[in-house]
């Protein structure tokens, strides 16, 4: 199996979220960037497990500038064989997907995996866009994958349950909880990662299809109204009169 795993970078979950004075740009100063956890824990690890089961190769691809190199090295340390970085700051998810599809088109991958969404844009857009551009089937929010030769059985999200789907390679799959467990890179992996190939490729031309008007932080919540634990009727009253759920 030749597997391509898309990795993106996102601010660490505990980062302070702030925007510049135009409210159009996220302020990156002092923000710790990490590999998007769903790409790392789910997509990459499931790719590595498949390679261990069936043989083959796992490449990671990232669209971003050279500040992302530590994230790419981490993916190699966890076990990816080689990395591709498209040297480009994407303008939107369509751009990211176009860059990835351009590479995937000519390199004979069987599978493309990525996380269910990123922690910053929360769009879950790139996977389906790549699939659409390549004309491959797309399965979103997969929580289980069993692969036999070129046939996969996938469990994916359905309201209140799961849908079990059969699909043949090639396909694109976005990965959610349950599909794999996080792997921590060991010393050996970290040492080896420095020797693994990291190819830097120029982007194809792109143009933005969507445009940011503004970012906004939520107006702070009015402070909590504390009710007495000894007078439960107060809460019943809130249920009844304010929330109207009784």
């Amino acid at each position: 199996m030749k597997i391509l795993v898309c990795i993106s970078k996102t601010p660490d979950t505990t980062s302070k979220i702030a925007f510049d004075s135009s409210n159009k740009k996220f302020v990156e100063d002092g923000v710790q960037f990490i590999m998007n956890p769903y790409d790392e824990w789910y997509a990459l690890v499931r790719g590595l497990e498949l390679k261990e089961q069936l043989g083959g190769q796992v490449d990671v691809i990232h669209v971003g500038d050279q500040n992302s190199e530590s994230i790419i090295r981490k993916a190699l340390a966890i076990g990816a064989d080689a990395a591709i970085r498209i040297d480009h700051t994407p303008v939107d998810s369509f751009d990211t997907a176009s860059q990835i599809a351009e590479i995937a088109k000519s390199r004979g991958y069987d599978l493309i995996f990525l996380g269910k969404e990123t922690l910053d844009h929360n769009g879950s857009e790139v996977g389906g866009l790549v699939a659409g551009l390549l004309d491959w089937p797309y399965i979103a929010y997969a929580s289980k994958l069993t692969q036999q030769n070129d046939t996969a059985i996938i469990e994916s999200e359905l309201e209140g349950g799961v849908r079990v789907i059969e699909c043949k390679v090639p396909f694109v799959m976005s990965c959610a909880k349950g599909i794999a467990e996080q792997r921590i890179p060991n010393m050996m992996g970290i040492m080896n990662s420095k020797k693994k190939p990291l190819e830097v490729i120029s982007p194809i031309a792109s143009e933005a299809k969507i445009e940011i008007e503004k970012f906004e932080l939520p107006s702070g919540k009015a402070s909590v109204k504390m009710l007495s634990p000894d007078n439960i009727d107060e809460l019943v009253d809130v249920f009844k009169n304010e929330l109207k759920i009784l």
Partner: protein, 317 residues
């Protein structure tokens, strides 16, 4: 023309599809363009579609379709109608088809939309970003837009005085590359993503056998149950109940958190709930800062008392 995907299940229009139609209606008013609803899952015309804003209805097939077949149908119809907007829910179907459609239509894509506004004669779209910690508003200069609507975000309005016309144009169903072997429904209750009231519990419950008081409360309120991540990780509760950054992000009308500390990763999945009620014995629990109502005390005393009080109230009315 706006194309809206309307899913019909057990002869009922899915609530998430009505939300998408309600959002499409707003776009239709701002842009002065019509809405064509494409019904998936039935060939019976739902007469009420007009009141939700549909001008035209296409009923391509009575059969259950795979996601890629739905994608292909919407593509054919979009081309036939020279559609400028495709609006659908970001429910499990939408997650599988919205972005694929955008690629095929070379469209501007925004998924997770929670509101639209007029900006002159144009439309801007707002969505949550940074795991609920901020919102972003976008415009789409592109000729074609694909808008995937976040479930439980748009009020459903049935106040339109339209009569939807059924169109008889035929579209072809392409063979699928996917084969659904089974749809396994895990809960009989309202799915968590669609629930309007959620009762959620965490490690403060101490033991899985203590969940009966949580389930009783949920039953009394007609709520769906959820849990924090550690609780599903150790197998006290099923995985599909896990909410938060790594689990499901939900936005019910009322979220009741019991014995959950309110870590930032938990809040990321629930902080868009309209009202939050927190029961926790630790006055310093971070969850109180995100709550609308709080009770500081021992859940093992409070929850059974609350259940009794609700029962009493219900038996008196």
């Amino acid at each position: 023309m706006i194309i809206t995907v309307v899913e019909i299940q057990d002869n009922k229009i899915k609530k998430t599809s009505l939300e998408a139609l309600s959002l499409a209606s707003k776009i239709s008013e701002i842009k002065g363009i019509k809405i064509c609803a494409v019904c998936i899952g039935s060939d019976q015309l739902p007469v009420e579609l007009g009141s939700y804003g549909a001008d035209e209805v296409i009923l391509p097939s009575a059969e259950a379709l795979e996601n890629d077949q739905i994608t292909s149908l919407i593509l054919q119809i979009s081309k036939d109608k020279s559609a400028s907007h495709i609006v659908l829910s970001l429910n499990s179907t939408g997650k599988n088809i919205a972005s694929v459609l955008a690629a095929k239509l070379n469209a501007g894509l925004i998924s997770g939309v929670i509101a639209v506004q007029a900006k002159g004669s144009d439309v801007t779209y707002t969505k949550n970003v940074f795991s609920g910690k901020a919102t972003a508003t976008y415009s789409i200069p592109n000729a074609v837009s694909v808008i995937a609507v976040s479930p439980n975000s748009i009020p459903v309005l049935s106040d339109k005085q339209k009569i939807a016309t059924k169109l008889d144009t035929r579209f072809s169903i392409v063979p699928s590359k996917l084969k659904t072997l089974e749809k396994r429904i895990i809960t009989g209750k309202t799915p968590l993503a669609e629930a309007s009231i959620v009762v959620s519990a965490g490690r403060g419950l101490k033991d899985p056998s203590n969940w009966n008081i949580i389930e009783d409360l949920a039953d009394l309120l007609g709520a769906t149950t959820a849990c924090s991540r550690p609780v599903s990780d150790i197998g006290w509760r099923p995985h599909h109940e896990h909410v938060g950054q790594t689990g499901l992000a939900i936005r019910p009308n009322v979220y009741i958190a019991i014995g959950i500390s309110g870590a930032i990763q938990h809040l990321a999945g629930v902080n868009n709930s309209r009202k939050i009620i927190v029961i926790n014995k630790d006055p310093e629990a971070p969850f109180f800062k995100a709550a609308d109502y709080g009770i500081c005390g021992d859940l093992f005393e409070i929850v059974p008392k609350l259940n009794e009080a609700i029962k009493k109230y219900k038996s008196n009315t």
